[in-house]
């Protein structure tokens, strides 16, 4: 059904000058809407996602059946070049059309890599070398290009870059200089701006995806002592409003930034060490992983209140990915030592953990892929 809607929406956009066509499409859309409402409760939705196990050099393809609320592992994909060394798959995302998934490998020779795999078959397609410890990544709808932050976690304290990659040719076309330890990047729905944080300079960074330049930077700290206090680790733009939310890993807060006026609107006192966060597609909830608390926080963005804190299945909560229908949040949880990682699936309506899917060690980067119906 989502596919039909996705076909209709651009047609509506384009056909604004043609009244007849518009009417036809309008009525069709109404039918589709009705069918969506009627059919949805009858269909068993299964959500599919990918999660990287950083200390096992594996990526897990997982599935979660919303009817039974049971999850399972669909495939385990070994990644990297040196099987006896830990190369650290870290950031993961699915391309615009859902045909490919992309993975950053942190430890390279010495630079890290971006890998490209076909979704479903999980067949390796190509790879290209990036900067030091590449981390989160996303493709822009505006340019079709991939933007990867080079976290440089283990390097010297010096400005790093955002690599811009042509995902078809798998070649780096530009490296944009940014702050120190850039991390946690996401792109606006229209694809025009990429937001990431500079962890060791306490800044939110904005990149104009079209001209591939750093367009704005905003200090997140409340002090002027040049010491990293907020230590931001993630930024996610609101799906409808001109807002960006930042995880203050060092200051235990979530920060709301108004991108129209480029200023901080609200600071929310959060759980310990918020690490990743994501705003649900309906704009209602923000889900944040509390890395230092082994918990996940669910926030009501309108009230600015944390409405639930869900304990995770083991220590070191890491990544967040919410299904497009805003019903479930997939949370990757790293574990410690030889402990396996996990994905906790949280029902955002009941605000309870629905299931735990066992995956590889140090589960980190996680991304929703698709929904299927029986």
């Amino acid at each position: 059904m989502g596919t039909i809607i996705s076909l209709i929406v651009p047609i509506i956009t384009f056909s604004q000058n043609n009244v007849t066509i518009m009417k036809l499409i309008k009525y069709s859309s109404i039918f589709v809407g009705i069918i969506t409402i009627l059919v949805n409760p009858l269909c068993a939705q299964t959500y599919h996602a990918y999660v990287a196990a950083e200390s096992d050099d594996q990526v897990y393809q997982i599935a979660f059946n919303a009817e039974t609320e049971e999850g399972s592992v669909s495939d385990i994909i070994p990644v990297g070049q040196y099987p006896t060394e830990t190369e650290g798959p870290h950031g993961i995302n699915v391309g615009l059309k859902g045909e490919y998934w992309y993975l950053s490998i942190a430890h390279g020779t010495p630079y890290g890599w971006l890998y490209k795999f076909e979704t479903g078959s999980n067949k390796f397609i190509d790879r290209t070398e990036l900067g030091m410890f590449p981390a989160s990544l996303e493709t822009s709808k505006a340019t079709g290009l991939l933007y990867v932050v080079n976290f440089n976690l283990h390097g010297d304290m010096e400005p790093s870059t955002v690599s811009v990659v042509d995902p078809e040719a798998m070649s780096v076309i530009k490296n944009i200089k940014t702050g120190i330890m850039p991390h946690g990047s996401r792109i606006t729905g229209n694809g025009k701006f990429q937001y990431h944080v500079s962890m060791m300079t306490d800044e939110l960074m904005e990149i104009n995806t079209t001209n591939m330049k750093l367009s704005r930077r905003l200090s997140l700290s409340q002090k002027d002592d040049n010491l990293p206090r907020v230590k931001p680790t993630w930024a996610d733009p609101h799906p409808q409003k001109n807002l960006v939310y930042v995880a203050g890993n060092g200051s235990d807060e979530i920060i709301e930034v108004d991108t129209d006026n480029w200023k901080i609107l609200r600071r929310f006192e959060a759980g310990k060490a918020p690490y990743n966060l994501e705003v649900s597609n309906n704009g209602k909830h923000l889900v944040a992983s509390y890395k230092g608390e082994a918990a996940t926080g669910i926030w009501d963005l309108e009230s600015g209140e944390e409405v639930a804190k869900v304990a995770n299945s083991r220590k070191v909560t890491h990544g967040v990915s919410i299904t497009p229908d805003s019903k479930y949040a997939f949370i990757s949880v790293e574990g410690i030592g030889g402990q396996a990682g996990s994905v906790d699936v949280i029902n955002l309506n009941t605000q309870e953990r629905a299931d735990v899917i066992e995956v590889g060690k140090q589960a980190g980067g996680i991304i929703y892929w698709k929904t299927t119906s029986k």
């Binding site: 039909i4 076909l7 209709i8 651009p10 047609i11 956009t13 384009f14 056909s15 043609n18 066509i21 036809l24 499409i25 009525y27 069709s28 039918f31 589709v32 009705i34 069918i35 009627l38 059919v39 950083e54 200390s55 096992d56 070994p78 099987p83 006896t84 060394e85 830990t86 650290g88 430890h107 390279g108 020779t109 010495p110 630079y111 070398e129 410890f133 505006a142 340019t143 079709g144 976690l153 283990h154 042509d166 040719a169 070649s171 076309i173 530009k174 694809g191 025009k192 079209t210 001209n211 591939m212 220590k315 070191v316 790293e334 574990g335 410690i336 030592g337 030889g338 060690k361 140090q362």
Partner: protein
Amino acid sequence: MKKAISLAITLCFIALITVPTWAQDSSYQIVLQPSTLSLEVDDTTTINGSILDPDGNTVQDSVAFYSRNSKSVSVSSDGKLKALKPGTFEIIAYAMAPNDDRLTKKLTVDVAYPPVTDIKFVKMPKKVYTKTALSVAYKITDAKGFNRENVEVEFSSSNSNVAYVDQFERLQSKKPGTTTITATAKEVSASWEVTVIENPVTSITLDHEKSPVRTGDVVHFKAIPKNKNGKAVNDAPVQYSFISQTDDNLGEAAAGQIQPDGRFVANQPGLYTITAKSGSAVSESTIRVNARNVQQELQVVGKGIISDVHTSDLWVWEGVDGGDYAITGTWGGNGEAYFWDVSDPANMSIIDTVTVDARTVNDVKISKDGRIGVITREGASDRKNGIVILDVSDPHNVSIISEYTKGLTGGVHNAFIYKDHVFAVNNGRRYDIIDISDPKNPTTVSRFELDTPGHSIHDVWVENGIAYSSNWDDGIVAVDVGSTPAAQSPERHSTGVGSLDNPVKLGSYSYPSGWNHAAFPFKSQSTDDFYVIAGDEAFPNGLNIEDGPTQPAGWIHFVKFEDGWDAPKEVARYQIPEAGTHNFWVKDDTLYIAYYNAGLRIVDISGELMGNLYEQGREIAKHIPTHPEGRISNAAMTWGPQPYKGYIFVSDWNSGIWAYKLQDSNTQGTN
């Protein structure tokens, strides 16, 4: 309800298919000027792009550009383009349409090769002897000064009865006279006048010194071409070859090999006739090659099976109490290092365990005095890996002295202890040299990192002040960290050019596979030759972590530096088919190899080395350690060996620790 749904779906489908197809296409498009580009190297031009609406009206007069091959064709975002290298490349124009659709347009740029402007013969002699063959050397350059190797060259001879160039680009001299050889490439040509004179060689003497000869022994044949007066003709080329009559000639493979300089080695026992030829003169010499006969029985003395986790490296040492102990690491587990009492190798047992925050403790090392241990960490839950320094003076009660992560958070895969310093392989990027003379307060004193593109490092071993690192694509690298006169090195090496706080690179050697995983210095006790032995690691068939055997690849490379650090030569190998090497150790003239799926291999590397030692009867003993209760049952993945007090201790990734002893043999070699 079902009927309602069915009707609704049908109506929806009809509605969809009645939407005109044009309505599904934005029809905005990028138009480029020019639409095709053919350039020459260094040409510059500007591309202009605009967006047209469905009616062909320009709605935007600029677009952005990028190059998919910016090192070959560069382009600025506003379309200023420069051709840098010959070939075919792609420029992408992109923009957002007024309706926010993403538009792209591909422009193919053909950059022509510059015209060939010159061809020259390189160091070709003016005179050659009849009935000889000589490879022709030449150099082609183009208008941009690049050397060109992709140009077809045609050769002609003004008198092919005197000499001509054959299809393999060798000059074949036939009879006395003078001819001009012409090489033509595109529009340019070069000439080489060569005089062929009668070959004065009428006889050859062919001698060698070594006798008796065993398989694997390198025999130096010396041929001296002479004229009719018996005088040596030193500039006459000599070609060597041989025929063999092996003792076992039932479908044998290659029986031996001979080098252009007359060095010969036999793989099989038998009779060998070596032939030396110059012009029409030929000489033969027949030798008897005996079996090397170095094989010995290898007794499995004991084993300590580890079933629940993969075992990584090991180190065996004499404790301060005089007992014998071993430490083994773990791979992909819970960050454990096991301490063993191996005083009785038949009954090895774990006496203590240290657990750190890591998934892999890959490497384990103990200081010479048996008091300090260093273990490496990868996969720490806080991503602060580094090393952990241990007090091992009582191996029954090991304690952690300190954890050192400064600058080492990215993961330490291997380490080496040398003179109160730890060489820690840092994040696969470099090694940090850390002073641990105060083990509670380690301090980094220096770093060594290559500057090659895409460089990496896997392991490092230090002896007599020279650090030998293994660096995948960059091969083996020798670095002076305070070398002493005892350093096993080429004769021309000046000692002490570097120090622990100022490491200085001496030399390196890389090979095409890029599989270099280990390096070990070796000064032959029998010949005084100096080698750096390089080991591979490769998994072309993947690595089975949970079940089933793994079939790695790779071999041992013997690299000689007899003409100095800047003149390495790979002279021999030890390669087992369908198996792959891991760590190894040299003691005296014996090589101990953990050959993954091929188990422990003990190899005689005495004497000069040439060819594949595996085929030369040099293998003294082998054992493939497997166990049904191993982490992976009955699958050898032998990780590391260490000869120690007459025993050989081995760690196996799938089964734990093993102890062996070579049995005295009555069938020693003939030397």
